[in-house]
C-alpha cells in the first residue's frame, strides 16, 4: 500500500510538473539558445526539490502551511503585501492556464476559444466540487502523463546526446551579442520562475495538511519531491531539446500554444499529436486547479478562516467562495481576449518577484529546532536552502529590468 502511495505520488508529481508557462518558455528557450539553458532547468529543479521537500516536512511536523508561516514570520503588514502580490501572480497564472486549456480544446475540436474557456472553467469547478482532494491531484497528474510522448519524441528524433548532456553544465554560450546576452539572462530568469512557481509550494504544503501527513510520511515526501520533480524535469527538458532541434533551425520561436504539439506529431503523426494535446490538456488543467486552490488556501490561511477540501464545501464557506471567485475572475481575464502566452509571460515575471518573500518564512521555520525538533533543516538542507534563496533574490532583482530591456524576450 505504501509503495502504491509512493508510486502514485511520484507519477502525480511528474504529470503535474509542466504547465503552460513551462510549455512556452521551454520551447522558446530551446529554439533560441539550443541546449544552452538546460543547466538552468536542472538547477531550478534542484531548487524546487529543496523547497518542496521543506514545505512538505514543515506541514507534516509543525502542521503549518506556507501562509500561516508568512503572517507569523513577516508580520501583518509585510505578510499582507506578500499575500496580495502572490494572489495576483497566481490569478494571472490561473488565467494563463485556463486560456491554454481553451486553446488546446479548440485545437482538438475546432470549437470557439471563448466557449472552450467557459467549458474548461465549469469542468474545473465540477472537479473541485465533486472529487476528494487526493483525487483532484491524482486524476489530473496521472492523466498528464500523456505528456511522456514528448520524451518518446525526443528519443525518436535522435538528438546529439553529447551536446544535449553538455547543456546540463553551467555555461553561457560564447560569442553572444549584447542583445542576445540580455535575452539569455531573461530566459534564464523566466525558466527559474516557471520551474519554481510559488503556487507549487502553497499547494504542496496545503495538500500535505489536507492529507494529514505526519512524521511517518516524511520518506514519501522526500522521494516524491526528489524523484517526482526530477522525472518531471526530464519532461520539461525534452520539450526544450526537441525545440532546439526542430524549431530553432526553422526560425520558429513558438508564439502559438499549439506549436509544441508539433514536436510529437513530426515523429509519430496524428497519434503523437493527439497524445501531446491530451497531455497538454490534463497537465495545464491540473495547474489551473492548483493555482486556483493555492489562492484559496493562501487567503484562508492568512486570515485564519476554515479551509480545505477534506470537508464539504458548506463547512468552509469562505474557502469555497474564494476558489469559485478565483475561477470566475480568471475566466473574465481570459474572455477579455488577452493571449495565454502573454499572460504566461506576465505570470513568470510576477511570480519571481514574489518568490523571495514566499520562501523566507519557510526557510526560517524549517531551520527552527523549537518547532521542528529533530526534523529541522540539517547542514545540507540549510546550505542548499540558503544557496537557492540567494539565487532567487538575484533572479528577482534581475527579472523586471531584463523583461523590459528585451521586450519580454522578443529582442
Amino acid at each position: 500500500m505504501r509503495i502504491t502511495e509512493l508510486a502514485l505520488g511520484i507519477l502525480t508529481a511528474v504529470g503535474g510538473f509542466v504547465d503552460v508557462s513551462e510549455l512556452v518558455f521551454m520551447s522558446q528557450a530551446g529554439s533560441r539558445f539550443g541546449y544552452a539553458l538546460i543547466w538552468v532547468v536542472v538547477i531550478s529543479t534542484i531548487g524546487i526539490m529543496v523547497f518542496g521537500e521543506m514545505s512538505g516536512r514543515v506541514a507534516a511536523i509543525a502542521k503549518q502551511p506556507v501562509f500561516n508561516l508568512m503572517r507569523h514570520r513577516l508580520g501583518l503588514k509585510l505578510g499582507l503585501i506578500v499575500l496580495i502580490a502572490s494572489f495576483l501572480a497566481n490569478l494571472i497564472t490561473c488565467a494563463a492556464e485556463i486560456g491554454g486549456v481553451a486553446l488546446v480544446l479548440r485545437l482538438m475540436t475546432g470549437a470557439p476559444y471563448r466557449l472552450m474557456a467557459l467549458v474548461a472553467t465549469l469542468l474545473f469547478i465540477a472537479s473541485v466540487w465533486v472529487l476528494p482532494f487526493k483525487w483532484i491531484e491524482r486524476s489530473y497528474g496521472l492523466l498528464g502523463l500523456f505528456m511522456l510522448v514528448f520524451v518518446a519524441a525526443l528519443v525518436a528524433i535522435h538528438p546529439p546526446w553529447a551536446a544535449l548532456a553538455g547543456g546540463a553544465l553551467p555555461h553561457v554560450p560564447a560569442g553572444l551579442s549584447h542583445r542576445d546576452l540580455l535575452a539569455f539572462g531573461y530566459f534564464a530568469v523566466a525558466l527559474i520562475s516557471a520551474v519554481m512557481f510559488p503556487y507549487e509550494t502553497y499547494f504542496y504544503s496545503s495538500g500535505a495538511i489536507e492529507d494529514k501527513w505526519g512524521p511517518k510520511d516524511l520518506g514519501i515526501n522526500r522521494l516524491t519531491a526528489i524523484v517526482g520533480f526530477a522525472l518531471g524535469s526530464l519532461l520539461a527538458i525534452s520539450l526544450l531539446a526537441i525545440s532546439a532541434q526542430m524549431f530553432g533551425p526553422a526560425g520558429i520561436s513558438p508564439d502559438l500554444v499549439g506549436t509544441p504539439a508539433l514536436q510529437a506529431a513530426v515523429p509519430f503523426g496524428t497519434i503523437g499529436l493527439l497524445l501531446a494535446l491530451l497531455g497538454m490538456f490534463f497537465a495545464i488543467s491540473g495547474a489551473a486547479i492548483e493555482t486556483c486552490l493555492a489562492n484559496a488556501y493562501s487567503l484562508c490561511q492568512f486570515f485564519g478562516w476554515r479551509w480545505g477540501r477534506h470537508q464539504p464545501p458548506r463547512n468552509a464557506p469562505r474557502f469555497t467562495l474564494t476558489w469559485l471567485a478565483v475561477f470566475a475572475a480568471a475566466l473574465v481575464i481570459v474572455l477579455t481576449g488577452v493571449e495565454p502566452i502573454q499572460l504566461a509571460e506576465y505570470a513568470v515575471v510576477a511570480s519571481i518577484l514574489v518568490l523571495p518573500l514566499t520562501y523566507l518564512p519557510l526557510l526560517l521555520l524549517a531551520g527552527d529546532r523549537h518547532f521542528m525538533q529533530a526534523y529541522a533543516n540539517g547542514a545540507l538542507a540549510k546550505t542548499l536552502g540558503w544557496g537557492f534563496y540567494a539565487l532567487i533574490i538575484v533572479a528577482a532583482v534581475a527579472a523586471l529590468p531584463l523583461y523590459l530591456l528585451t521586450s519580454g524576450g522578443a529582442l
Binding site: 526560425g251 508564439d255 502573454q342 509571460e345 523583461y403 522578443a410
Partner: protein
C-alpha cells in the same frame, strides 16, 4: 511579446523604435515559419485537419498583429506579409518564412 514591447515603450523607452520594429519582424518570421511547419505536417498527414485549420487561424491573427507594428508600408517585411493573403499555400509560406528570416538577420546584424 508584442504587448511587452509596447509596455516597454510606455515605461520609458527602454528600446528604440528600430528595436521594436525588429521585435515585430522576429515575431512575424516565427509565426510564418510555424504556419509553414503546420502546413508541411498537414501535407504529410501528420496532423488533423482541425488542428491545421485552427493553427492557421491563430497564425493569421498573430501575423496581423505583428503587421500593424511594422508601421512603414514600404518596409519589405510588411510587403511580404501583405502578399501572403489569407490562404497562402505551403510553398508561399516557405518562401516568405525564408525571406523574413533573411531580413531579420540583416537587421539584427546592424
Amino acid at each position: 511579446m508584442r504587448r511587452a514591447a509596447l509596455l516597454c515603450l510606455l515605461l520609458g523607452g527602454c528600446g528604440s523604435a528600430a528595436e521594436q520594429q525588429l521585435a515585430a519582424l522576429k515575431s512575424a518570421h516565427s509565426i510564418v515559419a510555424e504556419w509553414a511547419a503546420v502546413a508541411r505536417a498537414q501535407a504529410d498527414g501528420r496532423v488533423t485537419d482541425t488542428y491545421a485549420r485552427e493553427m492557421a487561424d491563430d497564425a493569421r491573427t498573430q501575423l496581423a498583429s505583428a503587421r500593424r507594428e511594422l508601421a512603414d508600408p514600404n518596409d519589405p517585411a510588411a510587403r511580404l506579409i501583405d502578399d501572403l493573403g489569407a490562404t497562402p499555400d505551403r510553398a508561399h509560406l516557405d518562401v516568405t518564412a525564408s525571406a523574413l528570416g533573411a531580413l531579420e538577420q540583416s537587421r539584427a546584424d546592424h
